[in-house]
Structures are given as C-alpha cells and as structure tokens.
Amino acid sequence: MSARGRAAQDELVLRATGVQKRFGRLQVLNGVSLELRRAETICLIGPSGSGKTTFLRCVNHLEKIDGGRIEVNGHLIGYRERRGRLVEDSERSIARQRTQIGMVFQRFNLFPHKTALENVIEAPVHVLLTPRDRAVAEAEALLERVGLGHKRDVYPGKLSGGQQQRVAIARALAMKPALMLFDEPTSALDPEMIGEVLAVMAELAHEKMTMIVVTHEMGFAREAAGRVLMMDDGRILEEGPPDRFFTAPQEERTSRFLSKIL
C-alpha cells in the first residue's frame, strides 16, 4: 500500500460495507454502505422504520449484523475474521471497541442513581481506570463545556430533559471517542430545550468531532453537517451536501419525505 493510500485509510473513521440486519423475517438493513472521514459530521434522515437507529446501533454492536462488515478506525467491529468467516468477538474486546464509540440516546439513559458528575466519571474511572482526581477534573471541564458546570452534584431526576441530554453528551465525550453516534438526541425533548442541545452538538461538529446524527432537525443539518443521507427501506437512498439535498433532492421519495417534515 502506498503512503498516500495509508494516509487516506487513516483518515477513514468509519467504513460500513453492505450491512445487513434482520429482525425475524423483517429485513431492517438491506446493504448499507457508508464511509466517514475524520472530523466529518453527517445527518441520517428518513421515515421511521427505515433503519436509521438500527444502523447506528450496529455501529457500536448493540445489535449483531447478519451480513456485511463495519470497521471503525480500521478495526472490525463486533467480529473477528476466522478462516474467511466472521465470528462474534469476545465480550471483552467488544467492550474495548465501544470505548472508541460514544453514543447519545434518544431517552438520555443517564444513570439515575448517580449525580451529573458521577455519570460523567463512571466509565473513565471504571473502564479506562483513569485516576479519580484526573477524571473529576476532566469531567468538570466537560460539564462546563456543555454549560452545566453548576449542576455537577445534581441527580438526573432534578435536571430538565435538555440538561440531561447535555450531561449524556458530556458522559460520552469523557471517553474521548473517535466517533460519536447521536440517536435522535432531541426527539424526546420539549421544543424549548431542543436548541440548547443542538447548540452543543453544532459546537462539537465545528471542533472537528466525527459524528453521525440521526435527526430531523434540518436547521442543524444545514449548519453542521457536511452530508445528509436519506434512508428508506433499509438502504441509503441518496446523499448530498445539505444545501443541495434540501433544495434539489434527486429522488422523488426524498422530496415527498422532505415536504412532510419541513
């Protein structure tokens, strides 16, 4: 491989090829291929049931895949190659791979028995074995960054939805991931709280975080995403830079979908 080729490979954070996923007889992902370069932010849109969330969950192996392969930073996710076949990897090494991939959930999933700060330091201390005082210092900086430095000792139950989601973002960032996955991060929020979460995400995108965002927030897509991808029926229907994507979609299916959500 040429030096140039290797450099280009290095730049590639995610490479998914022909990902297949079935739930029983339902084919949820039908050959999804996607490449993502370092510092790139993409938005996945599409009708519900089109496979956006499932694809995201496959990327950090919360779901097994039935075909294709997913690589993050050049490492196969969730599987090992043995005599040309893919076999599921050990739990320990899957867990190690997940430390590289941050995930933000639609319903936040903060740990309710831990304060904001404890939520953020939990994985650094117990998974990465970071010394506690260093983890705390980093967590405080992260909470400050998402605008919640003053809430460090508050339990999630006493935070608004928007604040909880920002803590969840800080919690994922504490692992210093190479890739961040956002699964409809604002769809469980009251309208007035959506902005504060999107602002944090946009700032992340501008700071060159590599991100996949499943969202229908077109304003965010326009401002922060390099590409927008439309999913339908378990495959990627079309993609393009946001300005062209929203004004002149190629596919009729896309324009029908956009007309419904815009």
Binding site: R92, R98, N109, P112, G157, R171, M175
Partner: protein, 266 residues
C-alpha cells in the same frame, strides 16, 4: 377463661425481667434469621443471574431449584437437612458442633440456618429477578456503549438501581424469616419460641408464656421495620422527598394503631 385468671405478673416478668436463658434464645433467633437471610439473598442473586444466563443448563438448574424449594414445606426442608444430610454423606455431619476459630456453632442451629437459607434463596430469586427486570433496558445499553462489560454494568449500574426495588419485598421476607425461624425448635434449637415452649411445659401457663413471646417477636419485627425504613431512605437519596419519612414509617409499621390515631381517615 376470664382475663383475671391470667397470671399477668408472669407475662410482665417475662417482658421486663427476661432471664439468661431467654437472652440466649433471643440471640439465637436473631443470628439464625440474619445469617439465613444473608445467605438466602446471596443464593437468590446467584440463581437470578443463572436464570438470565445464555446457558440453558444454568437456567434449568435455577428453575428446578425454585420449583423444589418453593414447592415443599420449610419444616420438611429443615428435617431433611437435619436428618438427611448424614444419610447422604454416610457419616455424622450434623448435629456435630462446628468450630471455626473463635466461632463455634451448634450443629442443629447450623442445619436450621442452611435449610432456612436455601428455602429463602428460592423466594429471593424471584424478587431479585423482578428487581432487575424493572430497570430500563436503556441502562444496560448506556453502560455497554461506554465500554462496560456485562458484569461491570450489572455491578455498577443495574444492581444498585434494582436494590431500590428489591429492598421493600426483601424487608417482608426478613420479617417472615424472624418468625419462620421458630420452626428450628423442632430440631432442638432453643430459640425464642422454643424457650417459651420449654418454660410452658413445666409451668403449664401457655397464655402467659406465649403472650410474652408474641410481644418479643413484635419487638423484633418492629425494630426491623425501622431499620428497613432507614435502608430505603439511604437508597432513595437521589429521589428524596418521595420516600416516606422515618416517622411515617413508624406509623406504617403500626398501621392499625396509626389508623386509630388518625381516626381511620387514611
């Protein structure tokens, strides 16, 4: 029999001036219940985790355990451990006194603790499993997405939350345990009930002795309900305000009395 015929001074004496034999019996009831409950919880946790295992054989074993020990009387299990163990092993294991360093334990008491613990474990399995099931699946997923293994996520994230769900029924179980432990009298361990029965067998004053022992069981269960309230409050610290206060728990422990006190308007 008119109440005047009851020798109240005997009841009074049993309550206010308990003798040495009584103190020993009370201590036996307490340590047997606590130890049996502790190991019951441990067994229940192991069985609950087995029940959720990917391995079929572990799930089957866990199911068989619950089927047998929830489906047969405790007294039969106690007798089985006491008399049956020796037959199984072919030598006298029980009631030999067991000594480990400074601790020495009467063999019959040990048999009782083992039987009560194994029986309790079957009930605790269901309680613990329900507690774990009550925790949103998103918690395990969030923990895994942060790179935690199943074990670590269970220990740090799921079980601490499940504990809050488990403690109230666990309290019930221990309350039962305090009373069920009286059955070990039938293999010759003189605990609270046994003490009363022995005294009654010479004095022939059943009402007096059993009234007094009922009082002491009531003291035990009441003290426990207060301890339980404290545990629940500690576990609910992130939701303080929702858990009933200490005072409220005292009244709840005495619900009929409290109802009378507040004119039954509850």
């Amino acid at each position: 029999m008119p109440l005047a015929a009851v020798a109240w001074h005997v009841v009074w004496q049993r309550i206010v001036h308990p003798d040495h034999a009584f103190a020993l019996a009370l201590w036996r009831t307490i340590y047997m219940s606590v130890t049996a409950q502790f190991f019951g919880v441990v067994l229940g946790l192991v069985a609950a985790l087995m029940r959720m295992s990917r391995l079929r054989i572990l799930r089957l074993l866990s199911g068989a355990y619950v089927l047998v020990f929830r489906g047969t009387p405790v007294i039969v299990q106690i007798f089985f451990v006491y008399f049956g163990v020796n037959l199984l092993f072919g030598f006298t294991l029980i009631p030999n006194t067991v000594s480990a360093g400074p601790i020495s334990l009467d063999g019959a008491a040990l048999a009782g603790i083992v039987a009560l613990a194994v029986n309790e474990g079957a009930y605790m399995r269901e309680i613990i499993r329900a507690g774990i099931d009550a925790i949103d699946k998103g918690q395990m997923e969030a923990a895994k997405s942060l790179g935690m293994t199943y074990r670590l996520a269970m220990r740090r994230i799921v079980l601490p939350q499940a504990a809050r769900v488990i403690v109230p029924p666990l309290g019930n179980e221990f309350n039962n345990m305090l009373k069920t432990s009286s059955l070990v009298f039938f293999i010759g361990v003189t605990e609270l009930f046994g003490d009363a029965e022995i005294r009654n067998s010479t004095a022939f004053q059943p009402v007096e002795y059993f009234t007094a022992v009922a009082f002491w069981y009531l003291v035990l269960t009441t003290v426990w309900s207060l301890i339980q309230a404290q545990i629940e409050r500690a576990l609910a610290r992130d939701e303080r305000g929702e858990a009933p206060s200490f005072r409220e728990r005292v009244f709840q422990a005495w619900a009929p009395v409290a109802a009378w006190r507040t004119g039954g308007a509850r």
